[in-house]
């Protein structure tokens, strides 16, 4: 049996319930593409959630949800590990337990401090915005140290788990900076991180899954206006 046939037989039925503008969903697509797993993408209207989504993620009602042979997996980092464990070739996580622990540690840090930090800096205004930016910059300093001397977070040759986790920086952060009026990915402050972002975004399978930049700009503008109008309606 050929390798491709063998792989397709083991794939089973794979669906991704997601939103093309969501960085969490793109992570999942990247992982599946790195593994060569074919999947059906079901685009969700987040303002009008489908029964399927609510059925498969009743706790959070959020995307992404991976549905493999009708069994759902939710939470993007949980999904990445599931993908790595189910399709074992082209490993996302390193072999060595200590390195795996480091990858998981930094992923948690990056999502909690850098990603959430960027969102805070995006959403807040005035003095709170300044504080949020300062806090996010401190967190980014740690990441700069991690990438120094390496082409990718996972090493010099191939991208892995942590590169995927950080993959929101080249496009999403760039758009958030434009719409939100702040700068975090500063090439002078974080030269190695900036270079990593350029290298990462050049990879064909990464580029293929990115939403068009205009669509993302519109999306972020829309959410800012939507939230402002909700806030005004409350007053």
């Amino acid at each position: 049996m050929g390798e491709v046939q063998a792989l397709q037989n083991t794939m089973g039925e794979v669906k991704v319930i997601g939103s093309s503008k969501s960085l969490f969903c793109t992570r999942v697509e990247w992982a599946l593409k790195l593994k060569g797993v074919e999947y059906e993408y079901l685009e969700e209207d987040l303002l009008n959630k489908s029964t399927l989504l609510l059925q498969h993620n009743p706790v959070h009602k959020k995307v992404p949800v991976l549905v493999h042979n009708n069994k759902p997996v939710a939470e993007s980092l949980v999904i990445l590990e599931y993908i790595d464990e189910t399709w074992k070739h082209n490993s996302l996580l390193p072999e060595d337990p200590h390195e795996r622990a480091m990858a998981r540690f930094w992923a948690k840090f990056a999502d909690e401090k850098c990603l959430m930090g960027a969102f805070m800096a995006f959403w807040k205004e005035g003095e709170e915005k300044e504080k949020a930016i300062e806090s996010a910059l401190e967190s980014f300093t740690f990441l700069e140290k991690q990438i120094q001397g390496k082409k990718f977070f996972s090493g010099d040759d191939n991208i892995g788990y942590f590169d995927l986790v950080m993959g929101w920086i080249p496009l999403w952060l760039n758009v958030m900076e434009e719409v939100g009026g702040m700068k975090l990915d500063d090439p002078q402050k974080f030269p190695s991180l900036h270079e990593w972002a350029q290298n990462f975004n050049e990879i064909p399978l990464i580029k293929d899954c990115l939403p068009p930049r205009d669509a993302l700009v519109n999306y972020f503008n829309f959410t800012v206006n939507y939230n402002r109008s909700m806030a005004e309606a409350k007053q």
Binding site: V59, V73, E75, V78, P97, H98, A101, R104, F105, K108
Partner: protein, 229 residues
């Protein structure tokens, strides 16, 4: 492996510290426990966890590992053979990790905030949230245990550890507020599981007594009142 090769920096009252302790007990790994004192952080802690400066930190062969659930997975991977902590099936593993993330990101913050709630209305809202969360976890227990005594089945596993480490504080909170958050009508499975978990050989020596936690809560409140805002 020599005991000195495995160290754990922690504190008796921390639910997060309890997690790697249970994991090490399951694997029968001897370790040196380095107790931190409330109000001061040791040089070793600051050096081993410069990013967060928090416990627990596992130091194995001189290398530090931080974040309680990351440590638990590390312990499971390094000391194998030994009873498995994570399930073997990828979907079961995903389910366990999903619920552990729910506990740490949604459930525990609500529970922790009950203590500092600004008024009775806020406190009640948080207690309702915790109670609703417990009903969800009752459902998770039915699904994960598959009729056995633990989330991990016959043996305690990752999710038992992740959730069970909060039981001491849950009981302390129930006592301090005169309420029952886990009860026979809404969460019968969890109530039974809680007893089995707290008396399990790998758990009972590190499971904090409710009374001691209630006393400690007072000490903690006083200490926090002295901190600059």
């Amino acid at each position: 492996m020599a005991k000195s090769d495995v160290k754990l920096i922690g504190a008796w009252a921390s639910p997060f510290v309890m997690r790697p302790r249970i994991a090490l007990n399951i694997k029968s790994v001897e370790y040196e426990f380095l107790e931190e004192i409330l109000g001061s952080k040791s040089q070793l802690l600051l050096e081993s966890n410069p990013v967060h400066k928090k416990i627990p930190v596992l130091i194995h062969g001189g290398k530090p590992i931080c974040e309680s659930l990351v440590i638990v997975e590390y312990i499971d991977e390094v000391w194998s053979p030994g009873p498995a902590i994570l399930p073997s099936d990828p979907h079961d593993r995903a389910l366990a990790r999903f619920w552990a993330a729910y506990l740490d990101e949604k459930w525990f913050p609500a529970m922790r905030n009950i203590v500092t709630a600004k008024d009775e209305e806020a406190r009640k809202a948080l207690m309702d949230q915790v109670g609703e969360g417990l009903v969800l976890l009752e459902g998770a227990f039915s699904k994960c245990s598959k009729g056995k005594g633990f989330f991990g089945g016959d043996q305690i596993g990752y999710l038992d550890i992740a959730f069970g480490s909060f039981l001491g504080w849950l009981r302390a909170l129930e006592k301090m507020n005169g309420v029952k958050l886990m009860d026979e009508t809404k969460t019968p499975g969890l109530l039974k599981w809680a007893d089995s978990f707290s008396s399990h050989p790998a758990v009972k020596d590190v499971f904090p007594e409710t009374e001691k936690l209630v006393e400690f809560a007072k000490v903690l409140a006083k200490f926090k009142a002295t901190l600059p805002k």
